[in-house]
């Protein structure tokens, strides 16, 4: 029986428009794009030119500081554009897909016979290494790190998040191969939710399985690490998205880079919320074609409403995105006297609204308004009530705001990622941008320690 870790702090937000447990076929798109910003902390150096022909698996750009870390094309075809923004920052590399997809052959390999160096080298060659993230700093990892452990969380419990078990169906073999490969590099932990029952999860091999029982953010890998083997100064741990584990499994079992993920298309503004198998870099316009309710303006999110990026139809499916959600923007709501009216339709973790009386089954349609003005931190204990980690969230935030590096280290900034503060940002009555603040703190320390 796996170790069960019970978490009490947190908050489940029950949003309208959850994806139904079925998959639709969205078909191929004509153009795909890989976005360097999806790989946090990577400064890209583009290695292709417009007009170049690439196969699926050929590098489009590399990490400037570690050129061996490649990021490969999801499809075969012709590079149509390297889009640059201010100060020539690379925004995305677009590839027009061929009708006949061709894959670079990396050769099938038996993971059991490989050692850590060989596994690492295979991942580097295939352009999958950069998909692995690390703590501290919550950035895409680099080959000079020696992880003390690797953590995979198969639980996605953010509101409207895509259920990983939907993706696992049919990919069980690849998932296990991926775990085998990671366990060659360092001790690997697999965190699963109490309700997850797929055999590929509950009886995965070569990993330590821990069951996390509690409300969101129990599925956040950083929360799990905090309870299993906290990160100390100088430590590095790798965190791997379960979809990436499947990518890795496919690489060893099939010898190809196949960046197909199962994406939930969800949200109250989606006509028929469902799942679909899609390649990283698929245009959101194709994913959401004829599927957005035409009523008021919509907020399209690359990811879930708590941690996802605000996007538009011109954007592309993110590399670490497991769902595309559409919620009302709400910029024309014109709600009268919100400070005193009962507002039965609004959801609040605070009991100053009535949503706590309606039970957990009621679904809410929350729009993208901030619903208040930014203030100094007034209420105490708000952040800590939704942060199930041994960390004083409010004091960490204050340390970051005041640029106090010693305090940040002492209060555990190496253990957190911005998304751990997503719920705190949601409940914050002072409406501070906590995820941005945490990211700035992490960036500052990364620069200091470099």
């Amino acid at each position: 029986m796996a170790n069960v870790i019970k978490l009490r702090k947190g908050l489940d937000i029950n949003l309208k428009g959850k994806a139904k447990d079925e998959k639709v076929n969205i078909g191929k798109s004509s153009e795909y794009a890989l976005v360097p910003d999806n790989f946090t902390g990577v400064i890209p150096k583009v290695v292709v030119q417009e007009g170049d022909n690439v196969k699926a698996g050929d590098a489009l750009f590399v990490n400037k500081k570690f050129p061996e870390v490649k990021f490969s094309s999801p499809v075969s075809g012709t590079v149509t554009a390297v889009v640059r923004g201010d100060r020539r920052k690379v925004l995305c590399v677009k590839v027009k897909a061929d009708d006949n997809q061709q894959f670079v052959d990396f050769g099938k390999k038996d993971v059991g016979s490989l050692d850590a160096t060989a596994v690492k080298q295979s991942l580097l060659d295939a352009g999958l290494f950069g998909y692995i993230n690390q703590l501290p700093y919550a950035v895409s990892t680099t080959p000079n790190t020696e992880p003390k452990a690797i953590f995979v969380s198969a639980l996605r419990d953010m509101p409207l998040a895509g259920d990983f078990e939907m993706e696992l169906k049919g990919n069980e073999k690849y998932f296990q191969t991926g775990l085998d490969a990671l366990s060659k590099i360092a001790k690997t932990y697999l965190g699963i939710g109490r309700k997850q029952s797929a055999e590929a999860l509950t009886s995965a091999e070569n990993v330590e399985i821990n069951v996390f029982d509690g409300p969101c953010p129990a599925g956040n890998v950083d929360v799990q690490i905090n309870h299993l083997d906290p990160v100390r100064k100088g430590d590095v741990v790798w965190t791997v998205d379960p979809s990436v584990v499947i990518f890795i499994g496919r690489l060893f079992d099939e010898g190809v880079v196949n960046l197909t993920r199962t994406i939930a298309i969800a949200g109250s503004m989606v006509k028929s919320p469902t799942y679909a198998d899609l390649l990283v870099g698929t245009p959101l316009a194709d994913i959401l074609k004829d599927n957005i309710v035409e009523k008021g303006s919509a907020r399209i999110i690359n990811g879930n409403p708590l941690t996802g990026m605000k996007s538009s139809l011109d954007d592309y499916l993110g590399a670490h995105t497991s769902e595309v959600t559409v919620i009302p923007e709400g910029d024309h709501a014109n709600e009268l006297l919100g400070w005193i009216l009962p507002r039965f339709k609004e959801f609040s973790a605070s009991h100053s609204y009535f949503s706590w009386l309606f039970g957990k089954k009621k679904e809410y349609d929350i729009d993208a308004r901030i619903k208040g003005g930014e203030r100094h931190i007034i209420m105490s204990g708000e952040y800590d009530s939704v942060l199930p980690m041994d960390i004083l969230g409010e004091y960490l935030i204050k340390a970051i705001i005041t640029d106090d590096i010693d305090k940040m280290e002492q209060l555990g900034i190496y253990e957190v990622a911005p998304e751990d503060f997503a719920l705190a940002e949601f409940v914050d009555s002072s409406k501070l941008e906590l995820q941005r603040i945490v990211r700035e703190g992490l960036n500052m320390l990364r620069k200091e320690n470099a």
Binding site: P230, L336, L337, G372, I378, S380, E433, L434
Partner: protein, 387 residues
């Protein structure tokens, strides 16, 4: 509703930069966000937000204060009619109206002065107007004696808002509770208007309501009388219902309990702070009773004076209280204990709640510092022991 929105949108350009009325931008924003929930949407970070904001929280606190306020109004009339000896002939409404008329000008003036300073300050700093004064503005009249002259109150409010709040950076940054600073200012600057025998019962007619009292009628608070070693002049049930002389909002334990219930149900006040104030007060009072330093039992100590009001509405102010969960227990306990110590051992002041809370406001950051340091050292230990 939409016409109101359209009107606000139409006049908005006047308040923008280079507009004629740019000097009143903060005020326009204040009224706009008071009438309508802002339509601003998130740009980075979470795409959805909780419906709660500081306006909502402050409003709930004001609502929680209402029972105590309305009871206080009634009690003012009650004490006036009682002192005049005409209580038996009076009905509910004249009694209530008398008190209402006595308190209303204080509330209006409090808001005009306090919010006026807030608005001006926000405009000067080019900030949004912060809601903190919504609560302070009603607290200040409620913790003053009914006969406190309004001009004195104006000075106190101006002092408190500017020197206790704005110079620290506004709501959320203040060290001391603003309402208590206003009261402390009066307490030390105008002691004769704030304590003594004559200020606790309104003694003049207002618009034909009430009775003009003769000079020299004794109407001190029970705590004042106890300090002068007079026997307790009221029954325990009077103390709970609140038909005793005292500051406007502080007398009724029942009305304050309703407010406490609202604050606790909505999770706005911390039950940890509130409970530990009572525990601290009770333990200290039991000790003093056992040693013979005080003449009244512990539950009367908790029911009299500003103890309940302070515990429910002042000690739980999230900004000035301890912010760590463990710290809240320590902070509350020391407030309760210190209030009783000041009451019993200090010959000068019959009431100690205000001074005790202000004292602990000062120590709250120290308590938090210790709690945070404990977390840090535990973390350090974990880091070294794991190696």
């Amino acid at each position: 509703m939409s016409s109101l929105r359209n009107y606000l949108d139409k006049i908005r350009p006047n308040f923008e930069k280079d507009g004629k009325l740019h000097a009143f931008k903060s005020m326009y924003d204040g009224f706009d966000s008071f009438l309508f929930v802002p339509n601003t949407t998130s740009k980075v970070g979470t795409n959805i937000h909780d419906a709660v904001d500081s306006k909502r929280i402050m409003s709930i606190v004001v609502i929680a204060l209402m029972p105590a306020l309305f009871f206080g109004m009634y009690n003012i009339g009650y004490q006036n009619f009682k002192a005049a000896g005409t209580l038996a002939d009076a009905t509910f409404w004249p009694i209530f109206f008398y008190g209402f008329l006595a308190v209303l000008p204080k509330i209006i003036v409090s808001y005009i002065v306090g919010l006026g300073i807030e608005f001006a300050w926000a405009q000067w700093k080019h900030e949004e107007i912060q809601e903190g004064y919504l609560v302070s503005g009603i607290l200040i009249p409620m913790i003053l004696p009914v006969n406190c002259p309004i001009w004195i109150m104006i000075i106190a409010i101006a002092f408190a808002v500017i020197f206790a709040k704005e110079i620290f950076g506004g709501t959320g940054m203040n060290i001391f509770n603003v309402a208590l600073i206003a009261r402390a200012f009066l307490f030390f600057s105008y002691p004769s208007k704030m304590s003594g025998d004559s200020v606790w019962v309104a003694n003049d007619t207002i618009l034909g309501f009430g009775n003009k009292l003769a000079d020299g009628i004794t109407c001190a608070t029970p705590l004042g009388q106890i300090a002068q070693h007079v026997t307790v002049p009221c029954s325990l049930s009077d103390m709970f219902t609140g038909f005793i002389p005292g500051s406007i909002g502080e007398t009724s334990v029942i009305a304050i309990a309703i407010g406490a219930l609202i604050l606790l149900c909505t999770n706005i006040a911390s039950w940890k702070t509130m409970l530990s104030v009572f525990v601290g007060g009770a333990i200290m009072a039991i000790i003093f009773k056992a040693t013979g330093s005080t003449s009244i039992p512990w539950y009367e100590h908790l029911a009299l004076g500003g103890f309940c009001f302070g515990a429910v509405f002042m000690a739980t102010d999230p900004v000035t209280s301890a912010r760590t969960e463990t710290g809240k227990y320590i902070y509350g306990f020391l407030i309760g204990a210190m209030a009783i110590i000041i009451r019993v051992l200090n010959p000068g002041y019959p009431e100690g709640m205000m001074l005790s809370i202000l004292l602990m406001n000062m120590f709250a950051p120290l308590i938090d510092y210790c709690v945070v340091q404990r977390n840090i050292s535990r973390r350090m230990k974990r880091l070294t022991s794991n190696k």
